[in-house]
């Protein structure tokens, strides 16, 4: 039983990591540009554009207001269109990405708004283009804060992925529900929770370390 449990745990952990890593990667790909656009189109920023800002902001807010479990069911047709199936680990990546991307966008936006406006003004005074300001000022200056935010997004994805398990997504959440809850195997439940705790702790401390390394603001 114990060997069996280890195998189950290892397989589920693998599925969880697969879902979460792929989802965060795609979410960043979508969310980072979105966050940058949300930032620079603000009034008083480098390319103010109220319509673009308001429309994107509204979309982001709308997606973020839908509870994950409902979003997952609601977009089943879309999921089927993208991956060919609405059930399974790969299928779970679609709703995970969609729920995470707007979150990443807001993280990017709030990290970039922490940058002292004086620094952006400096870049403008030196004749930097908006593109150069984004690449050479905004991204590097907020990178440590962005990293911490993405850690946060990753951890919330781990939580959401457990929920995806309930709809046949596989992973640690699925294991806990099927074995721990439905078959009353408390040991599986406890083991799963322990693995999740270790996973979250690990992700957070890696995130903290990297962010600290990137942050040159503190005297080290």
């Amino acid at each position: 039983m114990s060997d069996n449990l280890m195998e189950l745990l290892a397989a589920s952990l693998g599925e969880t990591l697969y879902m979460v890593v792929v989802a965060i990667a795609i979410a960043c790909l979508l969310g980072i540009p979105l966050g940058i656009i949300l930032t620079i189109t603000r009034k008083d920023h480098i390319l103010p554009n109220a319509p673009v800002h308001n429309i994107l902001g509204a979309i982001v807010n709308a997606i973020r207001s839908v509870p994950f479990i409902i979003l997952m069911v609601a977009i089943i047709p879309f999921t089927r269109l993208v991956v060919g199936s609405s059930i399974g680990t790969t299928a779970a990546i679609v709703p995970l990405t969609i729920t995470c991307a707007p979150f990443v966008a807001r993280i990017i936006e709030s990290s970039m708004l922490e940058i002292d406006p004086g620094v952006i003004e400096m870049a403008q005074s030196m004749g930097a283009s908006p593109w150069q300001i984004i690449w050479k000022v905004m991204l590097p200056e907020s990178l440590h804060s962005i990293f911490l935010g993405i850690t946060l997004a990753l951890i919330s994805l781990i939580g959401a992925s457990a929920m995806a398990g309930a709809l046949g997504g596989g992973g640690l959440g699925d294991l806990a529900i099927r074995y721990g809850y439905q078959r009353f195997q408390t040991d599986v439940m406890v083991a799963t929770v322990i693995v999740l705790i270790v996973l979250v702790q690990g992700v957070q401390s890696i995130g903290n370390t990297v962010s600290r390394k990137l942050n040159k603001n503190k005297i080290s």
Partner: protein
């Protein structure tokens, strides 16, 4: 070098329009250090930002080195900005870049090759005496060092004009002096035109050739720093001058003891100013008041005694400027004659009154 023609800036908002800068005309000459002094909210920040179009004026024209900035936008404006360096009160260094990388920033913006950047940055760091700190991050530097990095960065692209936005306001007095000395030095070495805004008369006194006083978006007065300092016309200007040059009666002579007219046995209290305006002919031929032995002359000529109560000799940029608060002891005639003599040799004097 810089001309502002009827430049205006109004901020429009629902709560009401704010005229930050009213029709302003200003000419800044090639190679001079021009100071704009005003209290916070006077419009000096807006004024300096209109020069490099960080604030786009709502009216008028700005010319820098013959080019009309107000006619430019987009890439052409960015190109023109590369000829105008700027330094800031809070330095605005990039925290994620080392000293060397910060100075390289404007050169990267211009797309210079890496090896060329390295050579230029090394030169600049030497100029601001930070060559041993090139791998430090801004958080590891003192305020003065940060401003030196800011100056090196502003000079990187060999600009013709340097705009200084309260560059010393966040620094302690000692560091302020060293930054001002550096600015004076680069002004001379590179024939760089410097426009600085400040609320500190100390700064103006130390390095400016000419100065404009701004209040409520208007330029109140403008002229050579020596003239504005020694002969201020407006109350605000007088207020600024007083911050660095306040002549007070010693506590011994309280108001109630000082009479406005002569009475038998009274001593005259007078403040004398010795001027040597660098633009005046008497300074050039060495006959300026500051060089004249007027005190010993009145003692010998009119038989008065002169007692020095307080005094100082100061320098306005490089021109000497002295004040002397004295009491003149003698008869009514001798005092009158002494005053007449002082008037004849153009010593600026202010009679504070007579005491017993």
């Amino acid at each position: 070098m810089i001309q502002l023609v009827n430049v205006e800036k109004t901020y429009y908002s629902k709560a009401g329009n704010i005229e930050a800068l009213k029709k302003t005309n200003l000419e800044i000459r090639d190679g001079e250090i021009f100071g704009i002094i005003g209290l916070s909210g006077a419009g000096k920040s807006t004024l300096i930002r209109c020069i490099n179009m960080l604030e786009v004026p709502t009216g008028g024209q700005v010319f820098v080195d013959g080019q009309e900035m107000t006619a430019l936008s987009g890439a052409a404006l960015r190109k023109a900005r590369q000829n105008i360096g700027m330094i800031f009160q809070h330095f605005n260094l990039l925290a994620s870049r080392t000293v060397e990388e910060n100075v390289a920033f404007p050169l990267e913006i211009q797309g210079l090759p890496k090896d060329q950047i390295r050579v230029r940055v090394a030169e600049l760091l030497k100029l601001v005496q930070l060559d041993t700190r090139k791998d430090y991050y801004p958080s590891q530097l003192s305020g003065g060092q940060k401003q030196r990095v800011g100056i090196a960065r502003a000079l990187a692209s060999n600009p013709k004009v340097l705009l200084s936005d309260e560059a010393t306001s966040a620094l302690d007095p000692q560091t302020t002096q060293s930054i001002l000395a550096l600015l004076k030095d680069i002004n001379r070495k590179l024939n760089l035109t410097i426009v600085l805004i400040t609320h500190q008369m100390e700064v103006v006194k130390e390095i400016c050739d000419r100065v404009a006083v701004i209040e409520n978006g208007n330029i109140l007065e403008e002229g050579s720093m020596y003239r504005v300092f020694t002969n201020p016309q407006q109350d605000t200007t007088k207020e600024f001058v007083r911050t660095v040059n306040d002549i007070k009666l010693p506590p011994l002579f309280r108001k109630d003891r000082v009479k406005q007219s002569y009475f038998p046995g009274a001593k005259l209290i007078v403040n004398l100013e010795f001027l040597s305006d660098p633009d005046a002919p008497e300074t050039k031929d060495g006959t300026a008041d500051a060089y004249q032995p007027v005190v010993s002359t009145i003692i010998k000529k009119f038989g008065v005694d002169v007692n020095i109560l307080s005094g100082k000799v100061d320098y306005l940029k490089d021109a000497p400027y002295g004040t002397l608060l004295v009491e003149v002891i003698g008869g009514e005639d001798a005092i009158r004659q002494s005053l007449a003599y002082l008037e004849s040799v153009h010593v600026k004097r202010e009679v504070l009154g007579y005491v017993g």
